[in-house]
Subunit: 538 residues, 2 copies
């Protein structure tokens, strides 16, 4: 018997606070298998606010020692978490599948992405550029006043509260991007488990807890709590020990955290990734292709809409298709393709119910027609994918047509001209992505759209589809409200670490009191900016 | 007759909106000479909300073309503003002195700082590191999926509303740090003039307006408005065209802007620098000096408290002095020194009145005693500097002793031990600075204090005084609330530019559509991060 297969036997059904199992005093919740529509064991006990305080207090106690670690140790923690998650093997994969209805291949890919993400952050932490070291050495002879020695580095903001998403039970959950980037910055994490995948959360929470122990850190560096959704979330976001919030989920839940954090005596940053319909603009040239090309393009669109049951933050909920024969032909292919799809089980009963309600509401709006609809899947929670269409004036005149319907649905808008598109874009809310399909003859139109799109989105793609977010150094998974709460950053990719850092300057510090990152001999071999010029360590 | 001396003749008394004089429809306000306690001509007309809309609309119209400029042109604008301010010469200096009561030498120094700051930002813009370019090139052969080409750059957030401070009529006002960093980032600025120095504001506003014209930019890049304080401020911070706010001033006004910005449908960042008492910790070794050394130290403390009438954000409002003979002797010297001071005219009547009320309230608190008090100056608004003292338990138990009294006042707390200091620090609110005076034998105590201070302040100084903020690459003029509204940044120094930028990624963009910063041939010769590694252009 391998250690992996024994994990399930040990699912405790309790929170892990600073390394200790804590039995919640509140009611219990069970995971739920959305395919069989049945509960999963064990029941998870929900903590109360006094128990929450144990977690935030431990995080505050761990903050100083965790902040002070050298880059190697921070990196080792991240790598150890990645190893432990991989070691959880089939047990983890099976539990994810049972709790989410996601197919094995997707779960395997997501686990790989989660581990790679932790290793990417480890490499960034080792290089140490995130410390943002700037040194302006003293000039004792400067007139009229000597110039002081001023040295700046970025330090962790302090304990971070993270709320996981339902749709990425690994990559945006317990050891997901927010946790990984907060730990990489040197911030303890108090993680509020998503009640849709409690068992997955516990397995990953143990992987992190074990890594904290293996690296020999203060156990308050990480806590995993199960609590009653909204109320414990508000308590967490307003706890004085918490210095920043990471969140992925609905616009309603995200904005309620923003409001709570802004109402604190000392407001804190909230990084909430919420709502996006990810418009796709098909320009004329991109459709000036043969029938087989149009089929492929339609298939790719439908695949991006329906993949993972459409439960992706970057799913294309909106597509602009030119009027004319090629556009008609493309839509005919889309209709054909989507009609051949079969609904996949959605993550939870309530998500499937919300999707049904959202599609019903959208379909009922004036001018909205069906392009094509697939067949429902065999489970209760596998509604039929659908693609709808409407006229531009319906879209610009009706806010309902701008709302995200989380799941496999998309709305096509037919357009005549560039000015139709600029008109449409001017009505768009903030988005994670926008996508332009174009050929060189469309470039002048694309060039006119791009500056307008830059004001609305965090990422502009060309001749592809927005689903499938690379985790790398250059990615931006962000954008203006309501895509996110904070346009200045990203929740995916290396830049995400900077969300949890703040600069501190040291003036005329005696050498013996300088932090290592700032010492003259540069013991951590960091790239540093000296008098404004990068001093690269190669 | 030189152009400089003719400027005063041309003070219009009106707002400058997108290059045009606009006569406000509201009441008028006059500048006021705080030394003579008399109004200054001309009267300034205050605009209404419809007129404000002209400014924000023009800023929105200018945003795209201003954002798209090459680094040379952005830098040229900043340098042109610096030149125009210097060219305003004596006329400007005289008006500043008349409106603020600040002495000529201070005004000359501040003008130099303002121009140098603009030139520092120009040099940063030319180097272009603030664009934060990251490139992860495509890997078409990666399995299982090809890796896309992803390129990130930072773009301006959009039009910025800036509110000037009363205490730096040049360096933190119309062409001050917030304006300079917003323009450097490529954001149009709508500047709300501080009604305490309207003439100074107009002269500098013209310098900027002329520079915008000289460089050939859209006039909406800059507007200077005069309006009724709080109401126009709220309208400006909630205008949909405005994408960020820079503010320096009182805690009350700053928090009201934070609340207004957070309540927008799409909240925006507010960078408010508000309130700080800048604790100074004198450790034993630093006082283990002879009588002449103690005199010098006392003189330096009193000078930092009383300089510019104490009207500096970083003035040391709090000093921790050890019990014992050396501490007693130091305080005797402080008493002697401050008793010999004479009050200098404060910036405005209301600031002087607030100072009087603040000192009266502080003096009336249980346990607060006078260490020494100077003589009032000869004008109405030149109250006598004062240094008070209290016991540690009074300080930790009474929030009034933590409040900033803006002006030449400071509170001394006597302490016994390191644990007294850590206890005191644990009660401190967020601060711009903390200062430690120490010798090598104090280093273990200092090392214990530093991590605790890092959580509370933006800058830690050693063996000096916090007033006199260097404008350089490494400075941090920031800190936790209420020092500022946003702990992630600084309002002085090169890092300030980053407040007004946001990242955007471009995925698989055709070369012809890539922004110049991201083009393969690197036409702007920027330092770029390729696959996470800095590719320095030297």
């Amino acid at each position: 018997m391998t250690p992996q297969t024994s994990t399930a036997l040990h699912l405790s059904g309790h929170s892990i606070i600073a390394g200790e199992q804590v039995t919640g005093t509140g009611r219990t919740v069970n995971g739920w298998n959305p395919a069989s529509d049945e509960p999963l064991e064990p029941a998870y006990t929900l903590i109360d606010e006094a128990q929450l305080k144990q977690a935030t207090t431990a995080a505050a106690e761990a903050a100083a020692s965790f902040a002070a670690l050298d880059p190697q140790t921070h990196a080792a923690l991240l790598e150890s978490i990645a190893e432990n998650i991989e070691a959880a093997g089939e047990e983890l994969s099976n539990r994810v599948q049972a709790e989410t209805g996601l197919p094995e291949a997707r779960v395997t890919m997501e686990r790989g992405r989660t581990a790679n993400q932790l290793r990417l952050f480890a490499s960034v932490v080792r290089a140490g550029d995130h410390r943002g070291v700037r040194i302006d050495p003293a000039q004792p002879d400067r007139k009229p006043m000597p110039r002081p020695d001023v040295r700046q580095r970025k330090i962790p903001v302090g304990p971070v509260a993270v709320f996981g998403a339902s749709n990425f039970p690994l990559a945006f959950s317990v050891a997901g991007g927010d946790t990984a980037s907060a730990l990489a910055a040197g911030c303890p994490v108090v993680f509020k488990a998503h009640n849709a995948h409690p068992g997955t959360s516990e397995i990953v929470g143990k992987a992190i807890t074990n890594a904290v122990g293996q690296v020999g850190l203060h156990p308050g560096v990480f806590s995993l709590i199960y609590g009653p959704g909204a109320s414990i979330g508000q308590a967490l976001a307003t706890d004085p020990a918490i210095k920043a919030v990471g969140f992925t989920g609905s616009r309603m839940a995200g904005t309620s955290l923003m409001v709570a954090a802004a109402a604190r005596t000392a407001p804190i940053p909230v990084y909430a990734e919420m709502s996006s319909i990810n418009p796709v603009f098909l320009l004329d040239g991109a459709l000036d292709i043969d029938e087989s090309g149009l089929s492929d393009l339609a298939a790719a669109y439908v695949a991006s809409v329906t993949g993972s049951s459409g439960q992706l933050c970057t799913a294309p909920g909106l597509a602009f298709v030119p009027r004319g024969a090629q556009g008609d032909e493309f839509l005919a292919k889309v209709s054909e393709t989507v009609s051949a799809t079969i609904g996949q089980t959605m993550l939870t009963r309530s998500i499937a119910d919300s999707w049904n309600a959202g599609v019903e509401q959208l379909s009922a709006q004036t001018g909205v027609e069906v392009v094509g609809r697939g067949a429902p899947g065999s489970t209760r929670n596998a509604p039929a994918p659908v693609i709808l269409q409407a006229e531009l004036h319906h879209f610009t005149g009706n806010p309902v047509l701008h709302e995200e319907v989380f799941g496999a649905a998309s709305l096509v808008i037919r357009y005549e001209s560039l000015s139709d598109l600029t008109e449409a874009v001017s009505h768009l809310e903030g988005q994670l992505t926008a996508t332009i399909h174009c050929t060189p003859e469309d470039h002048s139109k694309a060039a006119a759209l791009i500056p307008q799109l830059e004001e609305k989105v965090g990422r502009i793609l060309f001749n592809g589809w927005p689903t499938g977010v690379e985790v790398n150094h250059a990615m931006v998974h962000g954008g203006p409200f309501p895509a996110t709460s904070d346009v200045r950053t990203t929740s995916v990719g290396a830049l995400a670490i900077e969300r949890f850092l703040r600069p501190v300057a040291y003036q005329n510090a005696p050498e013996g009191l300088l932090p290592q990152a700032l010492q003259p001999e540069n013991p951590w071999q960091l790239n540093r900016r000296v008098n404004g010029v990068l001093d690269s360590q190669g």
